[in-house]
C-alpha cells in the first residue's frame, strides 16, 4: 500500500498542474478548469490525511465533510463563473484573457 506522502505528492502535483494551467492558458474557460484541478488536488490531500490519521479506528469524517463542502462550493463557483463568462462573451465576443485588459496601471 502506498505511503501517505505518495498521495500528498500526487495531490500536490495536481494542484501544481492546475496552477500552471491558470498561469499559462489564455482561454478563460480552460483557466477555470485548471482552478477546478487545484481544488481537487486539495481534496485529495484532505482525504488522504483523513484516511491516514485514523480517529478511534476510523477515517476522520470531519475532513471528509470539509471535502464535501469544498465540492459543493466548487460547483457553485463554476456555475456563477460560467454565467459571468457567458455574459462576458455576449458583451465582448471573446473568452480570451488578453482581450480583457481595458483597465490597467
Amino acid at each position: 500500500m502506498p505511503a501517505l506522502n505518495d498521495y500528498l505528492f500526487v495531490s500536490g502535483l495536481l494542484f501544481a498542474i492546475g496552477l500552471a494551467g491558470v498561469i499559462l492558458r489564455r482561454n478563460i474557460i480552460i483557466i477555470f478548469m485548471s482552478l477546478e484541478l487545484m481544488l481537487n488536488g486539495a481534496n485529495l490531500s484532505l482525504v488522504a490525511f483523513s484516511r491516514y490519521r485514523l480517529v478511534n479506528g476510523l477515517p476522520d469524517y470531519n475532513a471528509q465533510a470539509l471535502v464535501f463542502f469544498i465540492i459543493t462550493v466548487a460547483a457553485a463557483e463554476v456555475a456563477v463563473g460560467l454565467a459571468i463568462i457567458v455574459a462576458l462573451y455576449r458583451a465582448r465576443k471573446t473568452t480570451h484573457v488578453e482581450d480583457i485588459n481595458s483597465m490597467h496601471y
Binding site: N5, L24, I29, V47, G57
Partner: protein, 192 residues
Amino acid sequence: MPTLLFYLFALIALLFGAGVIVNRNPVSSALCLVMSFVGLAALFIQLDAFLIGIVQILVYAGAVMVLFLFIIMLLDLRSEKRRRINRLAWIGGAGVTAAFVFLLLAALQNFQGERFPALRPDIAATLRAENLPADAASTDSALIALTAGRLPDVHLTGEVLFTRFVLPLQIVGALLLVATVGVVVLSKRRLT
C-alpha cells in the same frame, strides 16, 4: 496490488490533468478533465472514502463537466487560433510551478514512509456502543455494520454533516441560493 492500482489511477489523474492544460481544443480539455476526475474518484475510493468518490463522479463528471461542455458548445468555442505564444508567460508559469513543486517536496520531507494504517472498526464499534443507549444499539445500522467489520461510510459522513456541521451546511445552503440567484441575474438575456 493496491500500490499498482494507486500508480495507475494517480497516473490517469495527473496525465489527463496535464492534458487539460496542453490541449488547444476546449472540448478535449474538458474531456481530459473528466478523465482526471474519474482517476481522482478512484483514488478516493481506494482511500475508503466511498461517498466522496461517488459524489466526485456525480458532481464533477456529471454536473460540472456537462456545464462546461454546454457552455463551450453554447459559445461555440473553436480551438484557440495559434497566437504568438507568450514566452514570458511560459517561463513565468513554468518557474512558479517548479518553485511550488520544490516547496511541496520540502514540506513532504517529514511524511517519509508513513505507513497505511489498517482500519479498526471494532474499536469504533465499542466506543459507539458505549455512547449509544442500550436499546438503540440493536437498531443502529452503523453499529451493526461496524461490528460486522464493514465501514458504513455514508452513514457516518451523513451523521457528521447533520450533527456537527449543521451550521456550515446551512451556510452552504445560503451560498447555493446566492449562486442560483446570481446565475439567473447574470445570464438572463432580457429582463421582463
